[in-house]
């Protein structure tokens, strides 16, 4: 207790010190604005709560502090968003982590996209229809309590999948995009319980070869509707669409991606390599504003996130996420409703700044590459070096570090908030199946899994 108090006061002191610095250097900040090459920008986003850093940077005036006027435009789906960035309709966008990588190596549309900024960690969930949940409870009676033990694996789903297979059909589930984190997460969750989610092959771009559960693409906002219509029995999607299923009473979120992999990278801010080359200062300025937004979103006082309420009010505006305040509030303030009787505190459900999350880690890029290989989206086996080179092509910590340096000089950021690293996170086994991932050894990692390509 005593320790906690002293820590608290220290924190307060530090905070007030920072605010003094910020205040005194504010005049300086304005004078030394970066000489941006382009000052009116258009950024795209998909209506998900994790677009928050872009929205906050705009609404709190962080972009304006950099001399940028930014229009933030909702996009109908991930494909259109990517196309708009590639053809120049948009200067940059809120992207799935897999998108810049896939575009760069030519899965789908080929274009060299880079990212100087990771927008957030976690934030997805897997929801199953009520009927499936009831069956899972029958299979595993431990689930049949108001507050079942977490994490819930797909073990109790396996007999149901087999039963459907025996009747000559396949269970259908939804995810949002072929190279989305959601696709890899739901595959990981299923495969960890020995359910085959299907392989991509040269001829099968739908990824259903050998599948026991077939996955299909549905845009996030359509998920609850499609689940209600019965075309799919479950889905993996970002917020607020899991909470929406609970609110509507049509499904039960069984797990979050925090349980599948603790603090997994989720969205990035993507720009084309060409754009970054011709607008180097603008890229730094944008990154600066986004880092500040991330920090603002994760600001805490006495362990509580203090700015989230305000952020949710912005997000609830119809030109941003637009869902009801109450619905967005659940996950964004760190609570998650699994069932009406099962409301849990998940303080790390959305991480926007903590754990050095905004830094563009090479190891994150390598993980996505391993998943693309594991499920056959990358059709040929590649050496270790290829994984590292590709990740380095896409992730651009150089831009991030320049932005961070400016922010430290201006007093908006503390030195300790920028990692000193070679770009690879420490090996971790915080996965639902406990398999260890070391970003430096992608091929070794591939071999550890039972289902999927092993090299």
């Amino acid at each position: 207790m005593l320790k906690f108090v002293s820590k608290g006061t220290k924190f307060l002191k530090a905070a007030s010190l920072i605010s003094i610095i910020t205040f005194s250097t504010n005049t300086f900040t304005h004078a030394e604005q970066l000489n941006v090459e382009k000052d009116t920008l258009k950024f795209g986003f998909i209506k998900l709560t994790d677009c928050a850093p872009i929205v906050i940077a705009k609404e709190k005036g962080f972009f304006e502090d950099e001399g940028l006027q930014v229009e933030v435009i909702a996009q109908p789906n991930w494909k259109t968003l990517l196309d708009n960035v590639i053809n120049g309709n948009l200067d940059g966008a809120h992207m799935l982590s897999g998108q810049p990588i896939a575009a760069t190596i030519g899965i789908g549309t080929k274009a060299h996209i880079v990212t100087p900024f990771t927008m957030d960690l976690n934030g997805n969930g897997i929801t199953v229809a009520n009927s499936i949940w009831e069956k899972m409870q029958e299979v595993d009676s431990k689930l049949n309590t108001p507050k079942p033990m977490h994490p819930i694996t797909a073990d109790s789903l396996r007999p149901i999948v087999k039963e459907i297979l025996e009747s000559g059909k396949k269970m259908q589930m939804g995810m949002v995009f072929p190279v989305s984190t959601h696709n890899y997460e739901i595959r990981y969750w299923l495969a960890a319980a020995d359910i085959h989610p299907g392989m991509y092959t040269v001829t099968d771009t739908g990824g259903r070869t050998n599948a026991e559960v077939e996955l299909s693409v549905t845009p996030p906002p359509m998920m609850p509707t499609v689940l209600e219509a019965g075309s799919i029995s479950g889905y993996c999607v970002g917020e607020p669409w899991n909470q929406q299923a609970v609110t509507k009473g049509i499904g039960v979120p069984v797990t979050t991606n925090y349980d599948i992999w603790k603090n997994n990278p989720e969205k990035v801010f993507g720009i084309t390599s060409e754009w970054a080359q011709s607008n180097p200062n603008t890229a730094i300025a944008v990154t600066k504003a986004l880092i500040r937004a991330g920090k603002w979103l994760d600001e805490t006082k006495d362990g509580k996130l203090v700015n989230r309420e305000e952020a949710i009010r912005y997000l609830a505006k119809p030109n941003y996420v637009g869902a009801d305040y109450e619905v967005i509030k659940n996950s964004m303030t760190g609570t998650f409703v699994f069932q009406k009787t099962d409301v849990r505190e998940l303080p790390d459900f959305n991480v926007f700044f903590k754990y050095h999350c905004t830094y563009p880690w090479y190891s994150d890029g390598v993980w996505f590459l391993t998943q693309m290989r594991r499920w056959g989206q990358i059709t040929e086996s590649q050496p270790d070096s290829w994984y590292h080179e590709t990740a380095k092509k896409v992730y651009r910590p150089d831009i991030y570090l320049k932005a961070a340096k400016h922010l430290i000089e201006e007093g908006h950021l503390d030195k300790s908030e920028v990692p000193e690293t070679d770009g690879y996170k420490m090996p971790t086994s915080d996965f639902i199946d406990g398999i260890e991932y070391d970003g430096k050894k992608p091929l070794e990692y591939l071999k550890k899994h039972k289902i999927g390509n092993k090299s």
Partner: protein
């Protein structure tokens, strides 16, 4: 005479329904007029009222999982919400460029409003908390007996199951190896036990469903208070943003700041020498550039529904113009030459039924190929694609009608032309086109109608700013407002479509002489 002038104007404006009112005012066959007024004005109004009444009656009786079907007042409120958003964004844009006294006054006003709203919010917060507590208490009260029953029943069932299992076990153990009848009986008993178990589970699940539906009970006053509270919060945020835009974030304030700093830099530059001079010179130039940039900056306003309606209209007219430019010459050629008509027939029949949803992606890719730098293109590629899709889908009625109009010119006219030895061009402009005009315009009217319908789908797919994108965005929002906003769109699209149709009627009337095409 004024009366006839008025009647003629109404006729040309396509408002013939109001003619009886004028006639009645002049007491011209009052009985006939009264009858007409009843038939053409009173009955439609009554029908509309009945429609509204039915809607108002049926809607709340059907609840979907996305909430109640909105009633007319709810839809009207959603329209207000759309207007509020529009006005607020425009106000913010205006605030950004406000200067001098006006800015100061506006700032004072905003601050006063902010103070006032804080009080209201405090009050509303208290009320909301109270109502939420009431709701919770109500739910708990209703839930308690069911929960009790659930617990009792599930232990009861559990015990019963255990007993059954034991009995079965005992029975199974007692059966001799060759006692076939007893074995069959065992099978039967196991079956019965399973059926029993299923029944019990169904019973418990029904109870669970009941409990869940009680848990999702919404106490109306609490819901109302919540939406009121949300609106207040949104207003506060809006006022806070205005305050920023009127003070630190205001364009003129920013320019002033930058100028002041530039002056400091300039002084510093003039007073220094040596190695740092170049750096300082660069910094001065950068300061100057930054002032220029701020002076030209604009508030990045999001698209609002009203802007989107205007843009949709622009898009439909562009597409319509393109369609007209293609369809009329082609139609005339088809009408004039049977050979050309025969040549065109397969193409027309092939492309006419193709849906806009098929055209759009194709056009999108093609247009994208022409435009490398959308930033500096005159028109946004998505806008051009939507317009071209409209053109491709709407040119057919005009084309076919023009061909028909040209082909069915009275032979006498053409004979006269022959006698007068008119050349091709004068025959075309003096005889062919004028006599085909009524049919051409009838075709154009259909084309515009088709174009307007197609446009919404095209915008929805291409995410070109417009009504279609609004629909998609609001659907994606999935908020409690969504449903009502969709209804607003239905009415707006309908009303705009109606006006477009009227417009074409007026044009049609003004070119057709003698004949009297249908008025409605």
């Amino acid at each position: 005479m004024l009366k006839y002038k008025l009647i003629k104007t109404l006729d040309i404006a396509g408002l013939k329904v109001f003619e009886p009112i004028i006639r009645l005012a002049y007491w011209d066959e009052p009985e006939v007029q009264a009858k007409k007024i009843f038939l053409f004005i009173i009955i439609p109004i009554l029908a509309f009222l009945v429609f509204l009444g039915l809607w108002d009656f049926i809607a709340p009786r059907h609840t979907t999982k996305s909430g109640e079907v909105p009633t007319p007042p709810v839809v009207l409120k959603a329209w207000d919400g759309i207007l509020i958003f529009h006005n607020r964004e425009n106000q913010k844009m205006a605030d950004f460029t406000l200067s001098g006294e006006a800015r100061k006054n506006a700032l004072l006003q905003v601050e006063a409003e902010l103070q006032k709203i804080e009080e209201t919010i405090a009050h509303s917060d208290a009320k909301l908390a109270e109502l939420k507590n009431t709701q919770e208490a109500m739910v708990l009260k209703k839930l308690a007996p069911l929960e009790l029953e659930f617990d009792q029943k599930s232990t009861e069932f559990n015990n019963a199951e255990k007993l059954r299992d034991e009995a079965l076990k005992a029975f199974a153990a007692s059966i001799a190896a060759d006692d076939k009848t007893a074995k069959l009986k065992l099978l039967e008993q196991v079956k019965q036990s399973n059926i029993k178990k299923d029944q019990e589970r169904v019973f418990l699940n029904t109870l669970k469903d009941q409990m869940n539906s009680i848990r999702s009970f919404v106490y109306k006053p609490a819901k109302l208070a919540l939406s009121e509270n949300s609106a207040l919060m949104a207003e506060r945020q809006y006022l806070l943003k205005r305050k920023d835009l009127l003070s630190d974030d205001n364009r003129f304030i920013k320019v002033d700041d930058a100028k002041e700093k530039l002056k400091e830099k300039e002084d510093d530059f003039l007073n220094s020498s040596g190695s740092s001079l170049l750096v300082k010179a660069k910094s001065v130039i950068r300061g100057e550039e930054s002032i220029l940039r701020i002076e030209q900056s604009n508030y990045a306003k999001p698209w609002t529904f009203l802007d989107q309606i205007v843009r949709s209209l622009g898009c439909v007219f562009l597409g319509f113009a393109v369609a007209t430019i293609i369809a009329i010459p082609l139609g005339i050629l088809c009408g004039l030459s049977p050979v050309f008509m025969a040549a065109m027939m397969p193409l027309i029949s092939l492309f006419k039924p193709v849906s806009p949803i098929v055209w759009l992606p194709i056009i999108f890719i093609i247009v994208g190929g022409f435009i490398d730098d959308p930033e500096h293109a005159i028109m946004h590629p998505a806008f051009i694609s939507s317009a071209l899709t409209v053109a491709l889908c709407s040119l057919w009625p005009t084309l076919v009608n023009t061909a028909l109009g040209v082909a069915s010119i009275e032979k006498d006219y053409l004979n006269v032309a022959k006698v007068l030895k008119l050349g091709f061009w004068s025959r075309l402009f003096k005889i062919v086109i004028p006599s085909a005009l009524p049919l051409i315009f009838a075709g154009l009217r259909i084309s515009l109608g088709v174009g307007w319908m197609v446009l919404i789908a095209a915008e929805l797919l291409s995410s070109s700013e417009g009504i279609g994108k609004f629909v998609w965005d609001m659907f994606n929002n999935g908020s409690s407002e969504t449903f009502a906003q969709m209804f607003v769109v239905v009415f707006i699209v309908g009303i705009v479509g109606l006006f477009l149709d009227r417009l074409m009627i007026v044009l049609q009337r003004s070119v057709s002489f003698g004949s009297n095409p249908s008025g409605l």
